[in-house]
Symmetry: C2
Subunit: 195 residues, 2 copies
């Protein structure tokens, strides 16, 4: 069986960078939303998945009362896309050891017994990291609001798909506060905890 | 400046054992409630502390409206004891690098910038660890209620003294779920994160 690390994170906490570094240190594959959606788009395999999902699986994925409550067709599309990504993710996870950032991976891959990490940080630190990463738009106050909004959406998405509470300690094996820490040190520590 | 690791933990999670192992691995001192209260009792130094605290410091430690709300004289004694332990803890922490389990150490020693750890686990695992540690009394259901009660009291104590929420992620640098893990592996990982 492959060994999988999933990373949930607050936006701006450095969680994605930690994921990359961790995969590098362990010499295993790294996937995040970008990579997964790229794969889901570009492989013939995934085309098939998307078709399958569109044709037959959507109803079985969600209870009827939820299905009918979606007036927004974009919502249905989002669900279809997510279902396809989910299948891709699963395939990748079965193929080799890997680190997966985001995409509710901790829950989607639950039966594969992943090592579930959550990275968080205080607001000041998240703003500073976003700025250092090249996000120059707006005042710090605006950026703070923007980051909060993104996390709120992430939480909503996660809570809806998993029936769990995003960022609640009991759903993770390790939660790390990245405030004032070197991301490389965190990755190193996680590698140690994972081994 | 000394480097300090504080460990808060749910009862039965294995946090104390992890603390001991971690101190051993790092070759630094280890303190917990037992050790600290022993020191506070047996050294002349601490006798003086207790006297001082009793005589003059109690009022300054707590706002008047809180003080006057204590009808129970045991509560006052508890506060005095805790204040003495707090001073002992501080003295120890300034003397050498150390791991301190419990006693609101994360908050009491905040200005010394401790590495703040919280250890938790699911209920099944906490019951199993308590049994393995030799706690044979009662049914598992009774033990579960007992563990919950202890943690509730710990939380109450912590919240009262620190004005923070016990076990809330943002008050810690690392939170580790000990469910299904080897305590030695967790200690090893923490040593790595701390270095």
């Amino acid at each position: 069986m492959t060994r999988i690390i999933t990373i949930g994170r607050e936006i701006g906490s450095g969680g994605r960078t930690i994921g990359r570094k961790l995969a590098e240190k362990l010499g295993i594959a790294y996937y995040d939303q970008e990579v997964i959606s790229e794969i889901a788009k570009s492989t013939a395999q995934s085309q098939l998945y998307v078709k399958n999902v569109m044709a037959s699986r959507l109803e079985s994925l969600f209870p009827i009362h939820i299905m009918t409550s979606f007036a927004d067709p974009n919502e249905e599309l989002n669900q279809t896309i997510f279902a396809a990504q989910r299948d891709v993710m699963r395939e990748m996870a079965l193929m080799s050891d890997c680190v997966i950032v985001g995409r509710c991976a901790d829950h989607v891959l639950k039966d594969l017994n992943p090592f579930r990490v959550f990275i968080y940080a205080d607001e000041e630190s998240k703003i500073a990291r976003s700025r250092a990463a090249g996000y120059t738009k707006g005042t710090d106050k605006e950026l703070k609001a923007e980051l909060n909004k993104i996390d709120k959406n992430k939480a909503k998405f996660y809570n809806f798909y998993t029936g769990q509470k995003w960022g609640a300690m009991e759903n993770y094996d390790v939660c790390i506060n990245a405030t004032g820490k070197e991301l490389d040190d965190i990755a190193e520590g996680l590698a140690k905890l994972f081994r």
